[in-house]
């Protein structure tokens, strides 16, 4: 079965499920609003003291924040719910139900869940990015927009790969929810451009948890900082992560022994 068709069908089911609970949209909006407000206050406090942070001006950092919110929405709507379900399936032995279906198991476990209302964050992120672009007062050229979208997509793919690899650890150690907590903590580091962090942390945020590529690089595309080398490097790394994630997944699957399902 075509994985894209599969994903589309699950997306529709997830959406219809969630659309039944419309009040959740407002609750989500309020939560995003609180997060946005605290983020803006943080920025205001910083720019009370200085007019740039490690070379980034206020509207540029606003752009970073917008991308961070947007990508957070992508993670929480499409990536994290699937991976959490996978963890529970491994723990409970119910992964059997997915494995016995006539579709590629990796594709299937990656698309089963979709939290529609979390897309509120994507929307709010886009608004913040829009405001940032207006404040930058130099607009975006067509090529920049293309690079921005490409960087976003590569970043999302890399984050998915890392999530899948981390979740696959569950095949060996079963309890991984604490690792997820660690990942969330590190993702929060993406609120600021990775350039401000000390070397060891920047390396971790680039290769272990590719927050650098998921948030900073798209923001660089918007603010005229992106070089074609970085773009090519991102492409190479995306492909590498995809292969690695596939290998880890297949290897982990061999350790799955089912349980009671």
């Amino acid at each position: 079965m075509n994985p894209f068709k599969l994903a589309w069908n699950y997306f529709r089911i997830g959406m219809m499920n969630e659309l039944q609970y419309r009040v959740n949209f407002f609750i989500q909006l309020l939560q995003t609003g609180v997060a946005l407000a605290t983020g803006l206050i943080g920025l205001a406090l910083v720019f009370d003291q200085v007019d740039n942070l490690a070379g980034w001006t206020r509207p540029e950092l606003l752009a970073v924040m917008g991308v961070h919110i947007l990508m957070g929405g992508v993670i929480r709507s499409a990536i994290q719910p699937n991976m959490e379900r996978l963890m529970n399936d491994v723990l409970n032995g119910t992964l059997d139900f997915a494995l016995t279906k006539p579709a590629d198991a990796q594709a299937l476990v990656s698309v089963r869940e979709f939290r529609f209302w979390q897309l509120t964050d994507v929307l709010v992120g886009l608004v913040v990015i829009g405001v940032a672009v207006t404040q930058l007062q130099r607009g975006m050229e067509a090529m920049q927009v293309v690079a921005f979208i490409a960087a976003l997509m590569m970043g999302a793919i890399m984050l998915y790969c890392v999530w899948l690899m981390v979740t696959s650890i569950a095949f060996w150690v079963i309890r991984v929810s604490e690792i997820v907590n660690l990942f969330e903590g590190l993702y929060a580091a993406g609120r600021w451009p990775v350039g401000v962090y000390p070397d060891w942390l920047r390396t971790g945020l680039t290769f272990l948890v590719p927050v650098a590529f998921a948030v900073t690089v798209p923001a660089e595309a918007m603010t005229n900082r992106l070089t074609s080398e970085t773009m090519l490097f991102a492409l190479g790394l995306t492909l590498l992560f995809l292969v690695l994630a596939r290998v880890v997944w297949l290897f982990g699957l061999k350790s799955y022994s089912g349980a009671s399902a």
């Binding site: 609750i27 907590n181 929060a188």
Partner: protein
């Protein structure tokens, strides 16, 4: 009184033994929590350096000290969550606890205090590691040490009272997550968790004096990191006692009304 002391000691012992068994899980959790202060620390150290080495009275070394002590204070601030109260009320698990000849809050306080002992022990190597990396500047007198020790437990009690009150809103309405998130947002700004309060605009600082948040976060950290006079130190403890008393009074008041509302079965 004696039965309370015995209950507290026994309950703390149980939770200590339980939580030591899950030390790896506890550690991952604590390491995950370190990301947040490290982010603040890096950003504010960068700003201090850009400003010629000091901002709002803090040098990078002072920021390092602030955010390293932050990690322990944050851990002391973890109490039974309002989401736990929501679950307890919604699922009817509270019914079971009502059977006990003691207010359920005692069990919460005792259990989490025992856990805190484990957390403090686990925190020590973490603090050593952060100290090695970020090179904080500390200048601690024994008096500050004593007040700090009292203040982190005071913070723990204040926050227990506040979050229990918050959680008990579930007795009246089940849509509580929005209220909780709003509360946590306010707390983040007004407690000193985001930045030391001295970096906030003057009116925010004045406002925070009349609210409990600062006494659970900024005050305990400042006892160790700041330069408060003996009088200020003990006045701070006095404020903590005041807020604990206010919290406890409200709790018993709300509890009496709430328990009449409670109608869940099962648990």
């Amino acid at each position: 009184m004696r039965r309370y002391i015995e209950f507290y000691l026994a309950s703390m012992r149980v939770s200590m033994l339980q939580q030591f068994q899950y030390r790896v899980a506890n550690y991952f959790y604590m390491i995950g929590m370190i990301a947040e202060p490290v982010i603040y620390l890096v950003v504010w150290s960068t700003i201090a350096n850009q400003q010629g080495g000091i901002v709002g009275g803090y040098t990078p070394g002072a920021f390092a000290a602030y955010y390293i002590v932050w990690t322990l204070v944050r851990n002391m601030n973890i109490v039974f969550t309002p989401y736990g109260w929501e679950w307890r009320i919604r699922e009817g698990n509270l019914s079971m606890e009502l059977m006990r000849p003691m207010h359920p809050i005692h069990n919460d306080i005792a259990y989490f205090s025992g856990w805190k002992v484990v957390v403090i022990v686990l925190w020590l190597p973490l603090a050593a590691f952060l100290t090695w990396i970020f090179k904080p500047t500390f200048d601690i007198t024994w008096m500050e040490g004593v007040v700090f020790f009292l203040a982190i437990w005071g913070a723990y009690l204040i926050r227990t009272m506040l979050l229990s009150l918050l959680g008990m809103i579930t007795f009246w309405t089940t849509r509580v997550s929005a209220i909780f998130e709003l509360y946590f947002g306010l707390e983040l700004i007004l407690s000193g968790r985001l930045v030391p309060m001295t970096l906030m605009p003057q009116w925010v600082q004045s406002l925070s004096n009349y609210l409990p948040f600062k006494w659970t976060f900024f005050f305990p950290i400042e006892t160790l990191v700041g330069t408060m006079s003996t009088q200020e130190l003990w006045a701070g403890i006095g404020m903590q006692v005041l807020w604990i008393t206010i919290g406890a009074s409200f709790l018993s008041l709300v509890w009496r009304a709430a328990i009449k509302q409670f109608s869940a079965v099962g648990g």
